[in-house]
Amino acid sequence: MKKITSLAAVSAIAMGMASGAQAASATLDAVKEKGFVQCGVSTGLPGFSNPDEKGNWQGMDVDVCRAVAAATLGDASKVKYIPLTAKERFTALQSGEIDVLSRNTTWTQTRDTTLGLNFAGVNYYDGQGFMISKNLGVKSALELDGAAVCIQSGTTTELNLSDYFREHKMSFSPVVFDTSDQTVKGFEAGRCDVLTSDQSQLYALRIKLANPDSAMVLPEVISKEPLGPVVRQGDDLWFNIVKWSLNAMINAEELGLTSANIDKMKESSNPGVRRFVGMEGPKGSGMELSDDWAYQIVKQVGSYGEAFERNVGSGSPLQIDRGVNALWSKGGFLYAPPMR
């Protein structure tokens, strides 16, 4: 732990030196000059960032990168993806190797306040959940007293789990595995009654079962894991661009805009839509972007809803329910400030 703290201190110092030398919009200038956005993604997380057969990156986190590229450069394909492991990700951002980190990173106080980083919003509300075999007949996590729980080692999952069970005065016996493949095999072989992980990953793990329909994900969520894109501190303009690229995707869904209908909707008289596509209102002036920046995002990447269904929802094998990631008006948490 001490080592991690000192590493963070070193990072923070280095960060301080780096940010001191930067002008207000150094990142945007650099991006425009290079002609691409450098985006840190994971080395492979189903539905969030993974390469497809052709080697193109796809996923929820990748779509954030593409949205930023569409807003700044007008072309969603102008992204250079830098795959990063969990340990490298913050250093890569601090050292300027990447412009935005979009790598299923949980927004926490420590990360936001001590690493010289800013979280630009939340593109997926995740949380730790449970997957059980259907024939166990359990309907709620509160019935899990005395259960054997499969966990992947080295993650905060274990801590959340023991907190939850202690809080509800239940006991459990942990069965710890190294990798997600082993965890699934352990679950399948009956080494444990229940498997715990972040909900978004439970769906991916479920596909790995020989018979995915035999297992179900329980409704309880025992931890908050808001995932979102991260930028360096000290470049507020760039921070705003990333923040509003994400907001634009959410607002687009609220306005009913999709990549398919935006050209038609552009002609509509709805003032919200007209402001969105840059016909009136604030346009891109405050962010040094072109007037149609939000239009480009929706045209090339799509609204948040489209991205969700395509990558993790009904259009993907993962089949994740919108759940709390639905719009605020539909019972979820997604709420983007208005664009005016």
């Binding site: 990072s11 993974n50 490298e88």
Partner: protein
Amino acid sequence: MIVNDKKLPDLPPPASTVGLVGWMRTNLFSSPTYTVLTLIVAYLLWITVIPAIQWAFINADWAGDSRDACTSGGACWVFIGARFNQFIYGFYPETEYWRIDVLFVMLAILIAALVYEGTPKRGWISAFTLIVFPIIAFFLLYGGSFGLEVVETHKWGGLSLTLVLALVGIVASLPIGVLLALGRRSEMPVVRSFCTVFIEMWRGVPLITILFMASVMLPLFAPEEIDFDKLLRALIGITLFQSAYMAEVIRGGLQAIPKGQYEAADALGLSYWKKMGLIVLPQALKIMIPGIVNTFIALFKDTSLVLIIGLFDLLAIVQAALSDPKWLGYSIEGYTFVAFVFWVFCFGMSRYSQFLERKLHTGHGAR
């Protein structure tokens, strides 16, 4: 009275001592203990090998392009097929695959020419392979001149990246290792202590730590304008790490050469470099072949550690492919494929080293 003046034909040996039956009697069932052991082992093989063969071949699916093609319950090699190009070329642009193909072919021809005894001018070919070929390879892979499009290193991946890492490591670590080994046995205190400290420092640290330092710490200390390529950092780390190991293998060989050889060379009035180059090293390198190849094989497999710094070598790219929602759950097929490819390369190196040992064996010591 019958006198047979012709030699009777030899009777064949008893049926129980020849052929398959005989072999089995002497090797598998020669005593009750062996019989029991044989039966146990046969049973174990039966319950493991048969299902494995059934899984890998008989029940396997070979053709198709999506997971829907995998219905027969065995291995789904469709996954490997669908991703094969990615496993070989990584994220290299598809239109530029020919550049890697050209290199593969060149490399294969050069290696074949070097392995085959009868090739004329093998010395020149090996010099070409070690000095000119890496330069050609760099310009072909990276591009940027001769009208070739630049392909940045973060797009390199798969087997081609594994080979780049391994070949650069092998080609660079051997000479550095020789120099370090000679330096460690040098009588000049500065050279000796430098080499000793270098070797002990690099050898005393796990490769993972070195890769982490190279990828996580270095960028923090380097000025922001200098964008030190991640692959280059990893290559330097691997090379220096392996040359420290190589140095110790070579030092072992140097110490095995009898003192008389050194003294004889001195008596002839040879200079230090001539003594080493003409007398000591040729003998030493020969007896070190198993050790050197052992290090090479270890290096080849160690290259897969670069996955922890986000470089997509063969193993890492298979893992990344496994995270595609469309192909979730085919990890056994993926890992089997990786293991097979690694085995082919390592076994090839091992066989070549045995061949070299036999060829260069000139009767020193017992065999």
